[in-house]
Symmetry: C2
Subunit: 212 residues, 2 copies
C-alpha cells in the first residue's frame, strides 16, 4: 500500500491574489506598484487581470473620475498626494482617461506566453502611461513598450488586433462583473474582495491573520 | 518699549479639523469614532458639521450606496469588515438610508449651546443608528437620544422644527459643497481635504508631518 505517498507531491498551494485593474485607472497604477511585493511576503502569486472599466460602468452606471463634479478634482489631488506618500513616480497623463483595449490585450497575450513577462509588461505599460505620459491607448505605443522588454513589435501589434485575444478581454471583463468587480483596482484574496489602493493595508492584514 | 509683550498672550492657535458627515453614512460613523482622538493627539479641536448628502448628490449626481449595483453589496461587506477591524459596534440599520434632517438639526442646536455637548450628541445619535438600529430619522427618536444626554426632549423637538436651524443646515450643506465636499466623511485639515474613513491614516500623517 502506498496510498499516502502521493501526498508528498501534492503541495498545499495557496491561491494566488487576483488583481483586477484598468490601465486608465490611477488608483490601479498605485496598487500595481505594491501588489506583487505584498503577495510575495506571504508566499503568494498574483494574477493580473486587466479589464475594461468602460464596459463595467455600462452595467453599474459608474462614470470616469474626471467627469464627476467635485470628486474628479479631489481625485486629481488625492492620487498625486498618494503617489508622493508612496514615493511612486506619477503625473496625470495629458490624455486621460483613455481606451485601454491595446495594453489590456497585449498583456493577456504576453501573459499566455509567460506569466512573469505578462506582469512585467503590464507594469511597464502602467509606468509608461502614469509616469512618462505616453499614450498607451495607441497600439503603436503599446507595442513600443513591449519592444522595450524584448517582445516583437509586429507580433504585439498583431496580438492587439487578434480576434481571439479581443474575445479573451471581453470574457475577462464579463467574468469580473460576474464576480462583483465594479472598480479598479479590485483584489480578491481567498474569495474576499478588496476595492481600492486604500484597501491594500487591510488586504495585507487579511493575509497575515487569515481574516477577521 | 514693550512691543513684544503682546506676543506672550497671542497664542498660535492651530485651526480645528473640520469633520463633515451625513448621519446616514456608515463610513461617516466609522470615522466619527476616531476623529476626536486623532485630533487630540495633535492638540487640535474638531468641528463636527453634519450635512445632507441628498442635497449634495443633487449637484454631483452621486447616489446612495444601496442603490449602486455591485458597489452597494461591496459596501455592505466592507463597512462591516471595517467595523470588526476597528472593534466598533456596527450593524446595518433595518431602515437604510434615512433622511437625516432631525439628527443634523438637533446637533447644530446642541453645538450652539455647547460645542462639546454637540459632539457628544452627534456621537450618541450615530451610535443609536448604527449600533442600536434606532431610526434617528424620526424627530422623536432623535429627541429621545438627546434626552439620554440630559437635554430637554421638548426643546430638542422644537429645535428640529425651528426655521432658523433648518436654514442653518441648508447653509452648512451649501457651504460644504462650495468647499468641494462631495461625500461622507470629509475632513479638512489646514485647507487639505481628505475623503473617507480610509483616509484617516493619511490625515494623521498629515498632522504629524505638516504635509508632503
Amino acid at each position: 500500500m502506498d496510498v499516502g505517498a502521493g501526498r508528498v507531491y501534492r503541495r498545499t498551494m495557496q491561491a494566488p491574489i487576483e488583481f483586477y485593474f484598468d490601465f486608465s485607472s490611477p488608483y490601479g497604477y498605485l496598487a500595481s506598484t505594491r501588489i506583487d511585493a505584498i503577495a510575495a511576503r506571504f508566499g503568494r502569486e498574483t494574477v493580473w487581470r486587466p479589464i475594461l472599466l468602460g464596459a463595467v460602468f455600462k452595467v453599474t452606471g459608474g462614470r470616469p473620475l474626471p467627469t464627476l463634479p467635485l470628486k474628479g478634482d479631489y481625485a486629481t489631488r488625492d492620487t498625486a498626494r498618494f503617489a508622493r506618500l508612496w514615493g511612486v513616480p506619477f503625473r496625470l497623463p495629458s490624455k486621460f482617461p483613455i481606451a485601454t483595449q491595446a495594453p489590456a490585450r497585449a498583456s493577456y497575450w504576453a501573459t499566455d506566453r509567460d506569466a512573469t513577462l505578462g506582469r512585467r509588461l503590464a507594469g511597464a505599460l502602467y509606468h509608461a502611461y502614469f509616469a512618462e505620459d505616453l499614450d498607451i491607448g495607441s497600439p503603436e505605443e503599446t507595442a513600443a513598450v513591449a519592444a522595450s522588454l524584448g517582445l516583437d513589435r509586429a507580433e504585439t501589434l498583431a496580438a492587439v488586433h487578434d480576434p481571439g485575444i479581443k474575445e479573451r478581454l471581453r470574457h475577462e471583463t464579463d467574468s469580473a462583473l460576474a464576480r462583483g468587480v465594479f472598480g479598479s483596482p479590485f483584489m480578491i484574496v481567498d474569495g474576499e474582495p478588496f476595492w481600492g489602493a486604500d484597501r491594500l493595508d487591510q488586504l495585507e492584514r487579511w493575509l497575515s491573520t487569515g481574516g477577521w
